[in-house]
């Protein structure tokens, strides 16, 4: 099993930390992982993206042109990465701020209204964990237990009381994700 993922959105949405938690969770399951940010003079409001690869085999290239899954969280990223999903692959997006929804017919498209879910949970900071939940529902490459361990490993101890809240957000994401289109 090799899963090649791009997560892309605005800086400040938690794109990089979501990737990190996913990578950590993979590691907890004894899988090989790589986390490669497109780093630049980026900040809150700019664009941010990260390539995460989770595999049973040793990972070669940490950067890729085509992905199994694209998780897209803003319009700029949609413009850039919709075409980078492998045929038959998966695109998951939040439609908040999206003016041109995806048009490809050869991929599975899922909608996660993560922003909405996070607001309902009265905590917009869990946005990225809602998205992670949506991804794990579609591609259960790691289970919640691994994520739990991953969270505990990546968060400093003083934040461990937040693990339960994050878990709740992941579950909410799992429930909220909707299949919009099956690949033709």
């Amino acid at each position: 099993m090799t899963e090649e993922i791009i997560i892309a959105g605005f800086g400040g949405q938690g794109v990089l930390s979501m990737g990190k938690i996913l990578a950590y969770s993979g590691m907890m399951k004894d899988l090989e992982v790589s986390w490669m940010p497109a780093y630049g003079p980026e900040m809150r409001g700019g664009t941010a993206n990260v390539t995460v690869i989770v595999s049973q085999e040793r990972i070669n290239s940490p950067v890729l042109k085509m992905y199994d899954t694209a998780i897209i969280l803003n319009q700029q990223s949609m413009d850039k990465f919709e075409k980078s999903v492998k045929p038959g692959g998966v695109l998951i997006y939040d439609n908040n701020g999206i003016v041109h929804p995806p048009t490809r017919t050869d991929i599975d498209i899922y909608l996660i209204e993560a922003n909405k879910v996070a607001i309902q949970m009265k905590n917009t900071k869990v946005f990225n964990m809602v998205v992670l939940g949506a991804f794990l529902k579609v591609k259960p490459i790691v289970n919640l237990d691994d994520v739990d361990k991953g969270l505990k490993k990546s968060l400093p101890e003083r934040h461990h009381h937040l693990v339960a809240l994050n878990e709740e957000a992941i579950r909410a994401g799992m429930e909220a994700v909707k299949l919009e289109q099956k690949a033709a």
Binding site: S34, Y39, V63, L64, K65
Partner: protein
Amino acid sequence: MGELRLMKGNEAIAEAAIRCGCDAYFGYPITPQSEILEYLTLENPEPITGMVVLQAESEIAAINMVYGSSACGKKAMTSSSSPGISLKQEGISYIAGAELPALIVNVVRGGPGLGTIQPSQSDYFQSVKGGGHGDYKLIVLAPNSVQEQYDFVSLGFELAFKYRNPVLILSDGAIGQMMEKVELTDYIPRLSDEEVIKRTGSWATHGKPESRKHNIITSLNLQPEPQEQHNHHLQAKYKEIEEHELRYEKFHCEDAEYVFVAYGTSSRLCQKAIQLGRAKGLKLGMIRPITLFPYPTNPIKKAAKKAKAFLSVEMSAGQMVEDVRLAVNGKRPVEHYGRYGGMIPMPDEILEAMEELIAKVEKKAQKKAEKKAKKKAEKKAKKLAKKEKE
């Protein structure tokens, strides 16, 4: 198995320094390697291991602090990225001239000048062909994973002390910034003062006992004759390093017809290109230099007996390709493919570049075969005509 941790390449260097008993780190922030200094400052190892971590006032100050520490026989290191490493060159040349052990890390970014902050490999010439002035060599290690970033810190110090020579870890922004799994090693305590004296007493300056002469650390010699002698000695040392410290890796070379040569991040990209190419039935392989000095000249030369052509892949306009050409020595075509200024080539485009090279080589071979066949046919016709005449 040691503890596993998900780490950035830069963090791995910092953690390795603490764990391998490093005495001192002197640095100055610059993207994309600032995490090394940040991590060390945050970990603050001094109260626990006694390791000094200091943000110097400049890159030049940092390298000269390393010069001073290593003159006392201490395990000292510095790190920077391309423009900062340029500033350090004077100090590096002095350290090499004075034959001191030191570890320098370059997390390369796009150049020239201040350039970009994104990954590049355009400091190859600077690293292996001098950089600073004078006939000196650095031992150059080129990691291609976060684990190797970690492992090469302790290896670097080991080699630096073995040969009393500065060692450079030539990394790049991609390996520095990416996160991978790292297996950590146990803490090795720093050497005590007594142990340092025992280990380096013959050359380092830590207080002169009555029993020996002065140990003098200098790279200055006003007389040309002894300076030439010193250079002879250095050259002999570099030869010894070439004989004993070559490290390289072969990847799918057993049946390879076309061979990539790549180090660092590029070697990871080439692995993927090989995977994609082999799926298409192309017999591709790779030689990956792990040490850039010493360079795997002989292994490449040997591979040229079997391989049809070489493609040197580097995030530069073509620097290492010169050493591949020297090794192959005209026996086979050698070409370069690279992106630069901070751009990372995608495995697909590397494969395309290789496919172009293959097409070129095969076309040439076909032309040659056709010419040969034509000549043969002509000769035959001539012979036949001659016979008929008779």
